[in-house]
Amino acid sequence: MRDRRTMPLGWDEAVDLERDPAVVPDPAEVEVPEALRASITAAMQRYPDRHSAVLPALAAAQKVHGWCSPEALRQVAAVMQVTPAYLSSLASYYDMLRTEPIGSRYVYVCTSVACHVRDARAVYEAIAQEARDQELEDVEVRNFECLGACDMAPMASVDGRYVGPLSEDDAHELVAAVKENREVLPGRGLGDEGFRLPWEDKA
């Protein structure tokens, strides 16, 4: 996999200087799924300036397409009446927007400093290894920056559900559950009924 930390996307691709830049698409020419159009339009109405809706719009398009594909960008561009280049400048900036079809779901494993001192690197590597061994598909597995749950370190976010504290021994079950679309580590998710950290008094 490309090392996303060192070089920006597209650094090794030649630019086609002959091609005209993509313009604001004609709404009549772009087909947009109705639900997506409705959610983007609603987002635009929430703000005094429609550009503010661009992150919610891209997130919604990513939900539909799995990533910010050229087609996804064209659809958002058509509804919002902005250029695709503007959208791709954002998609490549924000960590949660995907510029490659890596997977429509995600497992983010935190390896930032508070998790680091609790062996997060080993947990991440175990999960990444399991994902390869179990041939997990359509899921983006990556190490991530602090997810704001250092109390449950080391931890991971599975499609927004925070689970932890994790150990290397959890890797197999975590990946299997993601693969089989089961709930991951029931009872160990933040927000689960009666969730307590191991050292907190049981209610």
């Binding site: 930390r5 550009h51 390896t111 602090c146 250092c150 109390d151 559900r161």
Partner: protein
């Protein structure tokens, strides 16, 4: 002072606190109603300022004073609640929003009245999916009740509130980058001045406050500024959420009175390092705060004492590191974070974070000499104060502090890694693994 003092989190054991009826039954929205109906904007401002409440998002600036910088005039004004919480070690806003979303909404109403804002935004980091959903549900309830929208609480005041989700970028927590992100741009910090209070969101006057700062306002309006100022010491008034993480036995959030000894937080509340381990250092205010060591354990936990010791209270996210942790990988992890999160707009930060990572990698791989330590320390000095925002400083200060406190360990690491690398080369050379002589012989 010992133990917790639960004011902000007083009702956290109440089941279903996140629901309007429960929050209201416990007196919720009383302060916002009072501020909207019975108080003038100046009175609200005065009370906030008199309470001594300081920003809980990092810089520790007086909230009332910042709100008073908002100019008069008919232009549209804005309130932005900073719920981006992405600093390694920080996880207090998560709990405040998840357990008691209405308290934050009430705080936003009071903050908006103080700033005469008619539009408010809560900028929440994208990774907080659960919390965003809970806030959305709470906002809907507040609209239904008429506490948000036009003529809030039946007054002449209007207030629209939108929960805006980020998409993953630490820099969007920096206030001017947050504004750019909210305007639909890449989250790059702006050159200041103009400050957001004068020209912020959509060029309008904007008050930006952290979640915890705003959450404190309802109780100040309810009990009065004297009540709040009576807690804490000197210019550090009130209680503070402290997030303790890292090598401790009981990580978690604790609400304490400011001025409590640091030892009481790390050892009393969080149980100290695991059995058989000793404290090596700690970050008192998130990963951006210079590290402190054992000698600082008996300091009172206040903005002033942390600054005097050469660090900062910041977000009061205490990351504890025990003696099992070597310093170089820790520094490398930290620098790697800031390199990843640097937006790249200004040179000292973009290059400084990158080169710091490179130099730490050299140290770790045995390619460095003790002189590199000087160069690295100098790079940090050249970052501090020279960037558009303090993201660069946020790496330079803790890295600088690590070199200062643990120089001996850095030097040992340099020597040990060099010796290991040389041994490996000699072994490979003798085993005939190196193809051509001179390709990578021992230095």
């Amino acid at each position: 002072m010992t133990g917790q003092l639960k004011k902000l989190t007083a009702n956290y054991d109440e089941p279903d606190l996140h629901r309007m009826e429960v929050y209201e039954r416990l007196g919720g929205y009383g302060s916002a109603r009072k501020a909207a109906l019975d108080m003038t904007q100046e009175e609200v401002l005065d009370q906030l300022e008199a309470s001594g409440l300081r920003g809980r998002g990092g810089a520790g600036f007086s909230m009332g004073k910042k709100a008073s910088f908002i100019p008069e005039g008919t232009m549209e004004k804005y309130l932005c609640c900073n719920a981006d919480e992405s600093e390694p070690g920080a996880f207090k806003d998560r709990v405040l929003m998840q357990r008691n979303p209405h308290q934050l909404i009430e705080g936003c109403i009071i903050g908006a009245i103080a700033a005469q804002a008619t539009r408010a935004f809560i900028f929440i980091r994208g990774e907080y999916e659960t919390q965003a959903k809970m806030l959305d549900a709470a906002v809907t309830e507040a609209y239904e009740k008429g506490y948000l929208g036009s003529g809030i609480f039946g007054s002449q005041t209007d207030l629209e509130l939108v929960v805006h989700r980020g998409q993953g970028a630490y820099i969007c927590g920096e206030e001017s980058a947050l504004l750019d992100a909210l305007e639909g741009k890449r989250g790059n910090p702006r050159l200041k001045p103009p400050f957001p209070a004068n020209q912020g969101l959509y060029q309008g006057p904007t008050l930006i406050n952290n979640v915890e700062t705003l959450c404190n306002t309802p109780a100040i309006i309810e009990h009065g500024p004297e009540w709040f100022a009576a807690m804490g010491v000197d210019k550090s008034t009130g209680t503070k959420m402290v997030s303790v993480s890292g090598n401790v036995q009981r990580a978690g959030n604790f609400e304490v009175e400011l001025g409590i000894p640091v030892r009481e937080i790390i050892y009393g509340l969080a149980g100290g390092p695991p059995e058989g381990r000793d404290l090596k250092c700690f970050f008192p205010g998130g990963s951006s705060a210079p590290v402190l060591t054992k000698e600082h354990l008996d300091l009172p936990f206040t903005y002033e004492a942390m600054a005097e010791a050469g660090s900062m209270l910041g977000t009061a996210s205490m990351i504890v590191v025990d003696d099992s942790q070597p310093i170089v990988p820790l520094a490398l992890n930290l620098a790697g974070f800031y390199r990843h999160e640097s937006c790249g707009k200004c040179v000292p930060c973009r290059e400084g974070t990158n080169w710091t990572v490179h130099m730490l990698e050299r140290i770790d791989q045995g390619d460095a000499t003790p002189m590199d330590l000087e160069i690295m320390a100098e790079v940090q000095t050249n970052i501090i104060g020279n960037c558009l925002c303090v993201l660069g400083d946020s790496m330079a200060m803790p890295i600088g502090s690590m070199i200062k406190h643990f120089r001996g360990e850095f030097e040992q690491h340099i020597e040990a890694a060099r010796a290991a690398r040389d041994r490996e080369h000699i072994r490979a050379f003798s085993a005939g693994e190196l193809a051509a002589a001179g390709e990578a012989g021992p230095a």
